[in-house]
């Protein structure tokens, strides 16, 4: 495959945008519809990434790379999903402070385990040995193909979110987020709904983490910083927490600008790219988060258009 026309920075920039959109879409179900502020996005992302990495690199697989890769990927997703179930059970009936403690605590636990369990994770030194489950010639071609595969996965997540908006389950999530005691008094199992939401959302975040780890090829605790949670939250909030397209538009707007345009197309002095630009990027993310929530809480897309949507779905 001749990919001379394609800049390597563009591939990595687009990849990070796609990953952030994926996480923001899943966060949309939790924060946007059910109004649960999951500050532990990076924990689920990280546990999926490390479970996949450890399974793939530490187990002596008796068969080829591809089946081992797929089994490890499923394992990472499953572990993240089960963690989501556990965290969901712990926080489902707590108020905002309990949710913050539980989710932030989980992310810290994952970071601690990634650092302390050196035999499995390599600790602070990191875990190498990850690779693509194919070889199509050059590194650039491999990465480009991986970008396409991950884009397809994130598109499927988008379709799931889009479908949820149109189902009774989606309406139940919105009702739970709007007024949980009312939903419960109408006989809706809100606790179970939240558990399922957390299990599925976390499994998705874990899958994205594993896919991200493959592109990184090297897992280190630095990948588990709060900036991952922040990125998903910013993308969602700027686009619109209540709308399925919010995460997509927000992700492209802010991270497309920083990770693609600033990185590849604006000729800033070279030394700025080391620390000044990443630092400025985080300041802008924080400012956007504050500015949008203060002055346009529902983001660019605004409020949900349930009436219109329901008319279209049900006639």
């Amino acid at each position: 495959m001749n990919l001379e026309w394609l800049d390597a920075f563009l591939i990595s920039g687009l990849f990070s945008v796609v990953v952030i959109i994926g996480l923001a879409l899943l966060l949309h179900l939790q924060l946007g519809l059910t109004r649960i502020a999951n500050f532990g996005v990076v924990g689920f992302f990280g546990i999926g990434m490390y479970s996949f990495g450890v399974m793939f690199t530490k187990v002596d697989w008796p068969f080829g790379d591809l089946p081992a890769f797929l089994i490890s990927l499923a394992f990472g997703t499953l572990v993240a999903g089960l963690s989501g179930l556990l965290v969901g059970w712990l926080i489902a009936d707590l108020d905002e402070d309990g949710v913050l403690v539980g989710t932030l605590g989980f992310a810290t636990v994952v970071f601690i385990l990634a650092t302390t369990e050196q035999d499995l994770t390599g600790g602070a030194l990191g875990l190498g040995g990850l690779k693509f489950p194919y070889d199509v010639g050059t590194v650039k071609a491999d990465e480009f193909l991986w970008l396409i595969i991950v884009s397809i996965v994130v598109s499927l997540i988008f379709l799931y979110v889009w479908w949820v908006h149109r189902t009774p389950y989606g309406r139940l999530l919105i009702a739970t987020g709007g007024n949980e005691p009312l939903a419960r008094s109408l006989g809706k199992a809100t606790f179970r709904t939240k558990l399922w939401l957390f299990a599925v959302g976390s499994a998705g975040m874990g899958l994205i983490g594993a896919l991200f780890g493959v592109m990184e090829r090297f897992l280190a605790p630095e990948n588990l910083g709060i900036d991952v949670t922040l990125a998903a939250m910013v993308a969602l909030v700027i686009g619109g927490t209540a709308r399925a397209w919010g995460a997509v538009i927000g992700g492209f707007l802010i991270f497309g600008f920083f990770d693609i345009i600033v990185q590849s197309y604006i000729p800033f002095p070279k030394e700025w790219y080391g620390q000044a630009i990443p630092n400025a990027k985080l300041i802008v993310e924080g400012l956007v988060l504050m500015g949008v929530l203060l002055f346009r809480p529902l983001g660019i897309l605004g409020a949900m258009q349930r009436d219109k949507l329901m008319r279209r779905v049900h006639g």
Partner: protein, 292 residues
């Protein structure tokens, strides 16, 4: 397990984690009296460490001299964030959930903006090695003894201030019913500013203590935030006394488990799990009570 282990845990726990109690008192003040979960409080702590280090290294002042100024600057910044962000947010009727996310955004902004001001590398206080004093057979640095004394002084001062002075009465009135307090002639703005300032001073001093005993880095406050928050959420129901006792017990438990496991991260891990399970158990109990 012998007596030596217990005395070591208690001495190390109380002296090493005294800044945790100090920071938790400040956070609890904001949390209980304004109802706000201010994630950016972690940056008040970090800024206290940075300003303490800056006064210390730029003007060649010793640690004892820079401690209070560092706290005061952090207090002023805390008040600044109230006027710049939280007061406008309240006027715009921002919801509780959004308020947490806004404070999270502010935390990120402050954490990274301070790197443009103070530089990216990890910084250090320039202090002579502290004199070591033996307490129950355990050697403790003078700064840590000062940290314990500061916690005691700040706690007593706050208790006296809130329970015994007219300003304290105003603070309590404002916390329980803002409209009624205002109708009774209390100036809510002045009292609120006072709360933000005191909380900031406590956080800033805690930051200076953290900084002098290790290093000054952008993540200094954030690394402590979860534990401060846990102490306040679990102990805060019983007022400031509950926060101080929970903070002290947390410090002792962290020290004991660190001695036992040989690694502070395992101690933190066990503590996080224990606290979250405790919160879950408490919520289950309160639900049962509501049912009855």
């Amino acid at each position: 397990m012998d007596l030596d282990f217990f005395s070591k845990s208690i001495v190390i726990g109380l002296t090493e984690h005294a800044p945790l109690i100090l920071a938790a008192i400040g956070f609890a003040l904001l949390y209980r009296l304004t109802g706000l979960i201010n994630v950016a409080y972690s940056e008040t702590i970090t800024l206290g460490a940075y300003f303490g280090m800056w006064f210390n290294t730029t003007y060649d002042l010793n640690f004892y001299t820079v401690l209070l100024p560092a706290g005061i600057v952090a207090g002023l910044i805390s008040v600044g964030t109230y006027f710049a962000v939280f007061r406008p947010a309240k006027k715009l009727n921002v919801g509780a959930l959004e308020m947490i996310i806004i404070s999270f955004g502010l935390s990120i902004v402050l954490r990274h903006a301070l790197q443009f001001v103070f530089g990216y590398p990890v910084r250090f206080f320039e202090v002579p090695p502290p004199v070591s004093i033996r307490v129950l057979g355990v050697g403790v640095g003078a700064f840590r003894i000062l940290a314990v004394a500061s916690v005691a002084a700040v706690s007593l001062a706050l208790y006296y201030f809130i329970q015994r002075t007219s300003f304290g009465l105003q603070i309590r009135a404002l916390a329980s019913d803002e409209d009624l307090a205002q109708a009774s002639g209390i100036r809510p703005l002045f009292v609120t500013v006072l709360i933000w300032f005191i909380a900031g001073v406590a956080g800033g001093m805690a930051g200076a203590f953290y900084g002098v005993s290790s290093s000054v880095a952008p993540l200094l406050g954030w690394r402590q935030f979860l534990f401060i928050f846990l102490v306040v959420v679990v102990g805060g129901r019983k007022g400031l006394g509950g926060v101080i006792i929970t903070g002290a017990l947390t410090g002792i438990a962290l020290a004991a488990m660190t001695l036992q496991f040989g690694q502070v991260l395992y101690a933190q891990l066990a503590l996080i799990i224990a606290f979250v399970v405790l919160l879950k158990w408490r919520s289950k109990r309160s639900i049962e009570t509501v049912k009855v």
